[in-house]
Symmetry: D2
């Protein structure tokens, strides 16, 4: 509706109502205009209604939604199914042009604005959450592995002779494959065992850089967020070496946005040393479906080069999901969830300590990991018994635990990994991990601990017959951890 | 609802109604089961309601939708915004595992089935539309350019020494960049001018293969669907050479599924020669938003290798869009739309011939292009005048025309292209193209021709003052082309 | 978005794109403004997208959607469930105020406009479909029976002494109950048997009016659309008598909007005689869910009185459904559907004639009924056998047939009806009816005829063993009726 | 999906995943079956996803959603617009049959079950919220006024000679009109002024009953929830008189479900005396859009008679809204909201007391009203000044306050009311009311108090120049009332 519409409304309504309706509309428009002007993450979350209205408004700027448009090109964003049209808010043109993922599309002005806005919001999110010095970023419609590959392909264009990537081992196949798919050879630097914890072998990394022709090294890849007992990599030290030896440095900050610790080390690394790009998953940090990352850096021109490397268009769906979610939560709610996560991490740790001690085990001491926790498992004769423990938990509807034996050997793209899954060839014990991530609720923790206890009870009798000490503090020993009203209430805030 | 539910319904309903409701339900289940069993593209389209119910059913198999599930992993497909949850049908886990895009995800059985079903449907679509011998395919959550890059990266793993890709020039930047981003050097083979038409320089392609060490050549890339006056590449001959010289052959069949001609040449090429993979855009062929391709081939293991090359997970959104659309249209409706397109291509050609002749120009004779049509434009002093013609059409809400002068020079990734946009360094004339693609309606053609006439009238007076012959057949000369009732009705079938 | 928004967009977009987006937006606004200004049923249907945008715009005018609104009343249209909020487009205040259903609500300017617009559209629909002289109408959020009761209650207020309603018998319980629930006594005038057809006993109606004190008669109620073999009432003659004897006249035009015949007789009746109000179901005429009627009349003040009679507020849901549907279809599509219905009525009649003759029966000759058709059934010993025929059809997924024996007696509110269901105490034969109503497709007719044949075959062997003549024109004898392409295409136009 | 589907899934999935998916599905089915079996209001709210799935399942039982159904009746629930179909979950047949609103519809088994389930839930809600002895109820698709009319029309059928309804005056037009529209004459019993409060004149009510022929009295109508300074009627005493004098008793419990007090007096009244029916608005008590009530009683057969009085079918939309909302909230959340409301009532009262005293006014002492609060206003020369106060609040986006002067005279249906709006002919002062109702948040209270202060400041200078005492407790004096974290959190629970 426009000015004329409001005039026409006077046919139906007393003029005071028309005026008030206009005022109300202006309030909403003000909200939109603030966003367009500032490109900042709003503190207060928006209602879904207002988000939908803005998306409709933006979609109206795309030519396929022009009332009188007639397309005679090969791609006119016609959408055959109304179900598909609606779930995409009638946005059909995707992102980018052949030249650059972030370039404006003439046929899709609205989609282009939406993408730029989301990138602006994402940058503000990174700044707000602990990396104030970030210069540029874009939301890539690719999950973490493929995003890393894209960065590596971009590095290759800059450094055509490069053949290697120095990689602080982390046992996630997609990290490893991101290197090989990009056509590079990984130089694997296994972490050092420090007590229970696996920490970055910065010495070895430096040694390699020193020794090799830097032109042959595309970059060092480090990782912040990871499964215990591996710690967040010592990215600061690595960054310093990268600066000294003029080697690029790419950080996989997969689910690190939710952790002030992970964000802080990136910020510090950028100050002291060299960080070319750092990547964060949108699904793991912002509770959207899998499919996007924020690729960020401290040098605008390098970040632009990455987006320019992307050949052609891409799905805007991961961007739409992130845009909606960031507006819907607002920074206030997100920070509350992040604080809540931190609190639940403690609860989880305490609960696991109780269980572990009951079965003669212990929580692994991994102060460098602020998200994932491991408890040791007794040695078993048959490694299948360990697998069974995980299966039993999954059958009891506990998802996400990892049970790692210290025995498995795996060959990936010709590289043999001893104790695959443990980030280390020789970790001294089997263990089980669980993580406290954003969106988790106290009920999740409580139920997990209860079910784990039950499963451990039945499992331990099969594996290591023993007399269990009785619990002194009531039925299960965990509910007392979770009495805070606030915690329980919080649960309903995530669907 | 289950058997127990139906028993309980007897509390509310006479037993005959319960029985009839069960029967009706069985009919719907039969529909689902047929799909699960056969994996075939249904002839009759499904109602949106049934599609939604099936998607809901599949989503129910994902652990994040289990009523009692509690997740303690780092990625549990929690979805913060209910708007996001709904638009994704509560599917949060995306596609694939670290190992392989098409691998089953333990936490996401429903998503995994959905993906496999969509791949089965896609294969049936390719077979139905003209490539009966296709062996395997998967829907990649990447648009055409990045999909080509992925294939090239896979070829590199198989042939680590390869450095070059022989490329039958087509002036779409993303095609070119798909090569350079993958880290290869393009060997550009410009098409030959044959009358008005640009056809594949198969002689030169063979010469290169003959001359070079095949280990250095990753593949030849040809293109079927393209803008006139370039013709569909002679993929059959190229395929024969590729077989002889043991060079891989990748076909960009971007929007060729809608054209029986494009599909036929691929089928023939696979019979006579070598085709390693062919790629088709989902948006351009199936009227879904940008973001997916079908990557297909005649050797199952090579197609699998491509999907295994993909590092990590990916957005399932392009798959969901395609799944919905294929079920919604059914093969019957799709074939009708494809026939309709062919018919509109003729109408468009006739209409353009009338306009061209009125302005002393002609339709370019390009029998090898079944989708796009060009009309010559008079020589102008200032190439900006040609750009203006395109802008004026766009301002009149005609999208998709291309106006190509024969003068532009462009440098991309260090390669200089003369007459960029024309697929040829020396095309003898400027021209304007328009295309008849699937989903187009008779009204689109009619409005385009009317508006083009108006724009040409005003434009030609500015550029080449001339006396226009008057039209003899009525007001605009095009409506008579479009009198078929059927055509006009068809319009409403696409949203 | 407003002017400021477009200025801000220049930050993201080249100014030409901003301008074009504004132009496109103006086109949409023009569409809205035309509707607001004219209040006319658009000829071309609107896209769902534009309908949704307009509904969102209107909802924005309701105070519960004001961004800064805080309510301290007892009814503030808070909506607890977002699912409910969305399905109601965030419209919460319903219709009307205590004083009048059509009064503007201060807290709900948008809902008020929506209601007035719908009423304007409804009036235009009635005018377009054959009653050009209609003066006023409103969409009542009540189905037919309750709407009639509301009119009768209004008549009581005008004529406090009235105790009777003269009712041309039609055997639909809700019609009868609409009288008794309003507290009136029905004077039942049974139709006269004229050949096969039941026609209005206008003589008796006049006799009653003549004889009674008109102050005691609230009105005469006639019915247009009805089940065969009852004909549309002779509303013209009744209207003339009503004028002469100063008795109000209320017409139940339940599903008559789709029939030019029914609409025409109302128009004629209003010219020649007296029609106080006529009521049409929204679900039966416009394919929306049950729940609304259009209450119309030729005297604005009387129609207003009816709406003022309604005590308090009401659900706006039936209004929203009608508003969407009228805009979505447009008059062009609706008229096409109405023509289609007429055509299918003929096909249905021809098909039934074939079946009837095969079983020694005949189509009842009821020229005064343009929607419903009956075929005679053979006499059976046990009336349950007739019921079985209907059940068997229903079990074969044919809904909507009626099988009427000539034997049933029913007592409703103390009134005994012989042969209830037959509209007549003594109809000479049992029969089966089927109707051709708007939205029906040729496939519906074809499938019905096929299934009826099968059911009749098995049923007739049980009831009246006979030798069936073989069919001469192929397998089932009906498909040939349905060969028109147009017909088959039409099917897809209704969901 | 059915057993066969799960077998077929084994083609795509390892059997353990199939089993787990089946288990998960069974958990959901168990949830549904519990509801079908018990018909109880679940304690824990359901996810929107599960509610939607159940609604889809129920809709599948309606014949219009049968895959093979072909309708040849006059009402086949075809839905023309897919937008309309979706917002109604493909439910098209509405409620009821001609005989009875609660009767099962053969064509719409699912709709019928849905309605019965909702009625069962509603009964459980009333029992849970304070009227354990309620015997029967149904959700009427009518707002309060029309629901009362329906009850009165039913009473007329039982007592044909009745002409009057004794009405304890409450100044809501729809209450009054519910009597006159039903064709009755109100006998208005004005409440007695007791201090500031208006209480039921039970003496006069008894006197009328004593004096009149009870056959002439249809019923007494009392009201629980109302605007201050009127108190909840003394329904217990009235009930006792009704029992003694054999007069029916209908209670308007409009928004009383949210108040334990209102519910308690109804329960008590039913024990000590006579209550024939009590009516509660669904929108005011359950935060759904306007359009429904729960009509309840302590005698099943009388409640049935009311539903049987309803002539014909009705919209199921208000039922769907209530069904969704009750499942979505669950009793736990609803009770929390109700407690919250009680708490906010106190805060509101304290805040108003502060404001009132600042302007030399007072909170009216109305212990018998647990929802609405009034503050006195100074005498003004021109009653328009009072109206201005309300308008100014509305313009500042405060909705729901009422400003009542003691001067207005209104004639409704021939009855003259002095001081209309004040429930009393002679209330000694003008006043302003505000209410604390369910769904309100602490922010609503805070913002209202702040804005009221501002408006009063400017208004009082115009009307009664005076020196305002300064505030001692900070900026506005209200924020301190609202420090509870819990309160602020609660805000987000209502959309």
């Amino acid at each position: 509706m426009d000015e004329t519409s409001f005039k026409l409304l006077a046919k139906y309504l007393p003029s005071t109502y028309v005026q008030q309706a206009k005022d109300a509309r202006n309030t909403t428009n003000f909200l939109f205009n603030q966003l367009l002007e500032k490109g900042k993450w709003p503190e207060e979350g928006w209602s879904e209604r207002n988000i939908e209205i803005l998306l409709d408004e933006l979609a109206s700027l795309d030519s396929n939604n022009f009332l009188k448009n007639h397309g005679v090109g090969e791609r006119e964003a016609r959408i055959a199914s109304s179900l598909v049209a609606k779930r995409n808010f009638h946005l059909g043109h995707g992102l980018g042009r052949s030249g650059d993922l972030t370039e404006v599309q003439p046929k899709a002005a609205g989609s282009s604005v939406l993408y730029q806005l989301t990138n602006d919001l994402a940058r503000d999110v990174l700044r707000t959450m602990g990396v104030p010095d970030v210069k540029a970023c874009f939301v890539a419609p690719l999950a973490t592995g493929m995003s890393l590959t894209l960065i590596f392909l971009c590095l290759r264009q800059q450094q055509p002779k490069a053949r290697y990537i120095i990689w602080s081992r982390i046992d996630q196949k997609s990290c490893f494959k991101s290197i090989t798919t990009a056509g590079f050879e990984p130089i694997i630097v296994e972490p050092i065992l420090n007590g229970d914890e696996l920490v970055t072998d910065t010495g070895k990394i430096e040694a390699i850089m020193k020794q090799m022709n830097p032109e042959l090294i595309a970059c060092v890849m480090t990782t912040t967020s990871c499964f215990a007992p591996r710690a967040c990599d010592d990215v600061e030290t690595v960054a310093v070496f990268c600066k000294i030896y003029r080697v690029a440095h790419v950080i996989n900050n997969a689910y690190g946005v939710q952790s002030t610790k992970c964000m802080h080390v990136i910020q510090q690394a950028s100050k002291k040393g060299r960080v070319d790009a750092f990547v964060q998953s949108t699904d793991k940090n912002f509770m959207v479906p899998v499919g996007g990352t924020i690729i960020a850096g401290f040098d605008k021109s390098f970040v632009n080069k990455i987006s320019q490397c992307y050949p052609g268009r891409a799905s805007s769906s991961p961007i739409v999901d992130l845009f909606i979610t960031l507006l819907s939560l607002g920074s206030k709610e997100y920070k509350t969830l992040a604080r809540e996560r931190k609190h639940l991490f403690q609860l989880l740790k305490e609960g696991l300590a109780i269980i572990a001690s009951r079965f003669g085990q212990r929580v692994l001491d991994t102060p460098g990991n602020s998200i994932s926790i491991g408890i040791s498992l007794p040695p078993v004769k048959d490694p299948k018994l360990l697998t069974q423990l995980g299966s039993q938990l999954f059958l009891r509807c506990v998802s996400g635990t990892r049970v790692v034996s210290n025995l498995e050997i795996k060959v990936i793209n010709g590289h043999e990994f001893r104790s695959w899954g443990a980030h280390h060839s020789n970790y001294p014990t089997g263990y089980l991990t669980a993580a406290a991530t954003i969106g988790m609720t106290a009920v999740d923790v409580e139920q997990f601990l209860k079910r784990l206890t039950k499963v451990m009870e039945s499992w331990s009798t099969k594996t290591i017959p023993m007399v269990l000490p009785s619990l002194t503090n009531g039925h299960d020993g965990f509910t007392h951890l979770l009495t805070s009203d606030h915690l329980v209430d919080q649960e309903s805030s995530v669907i």
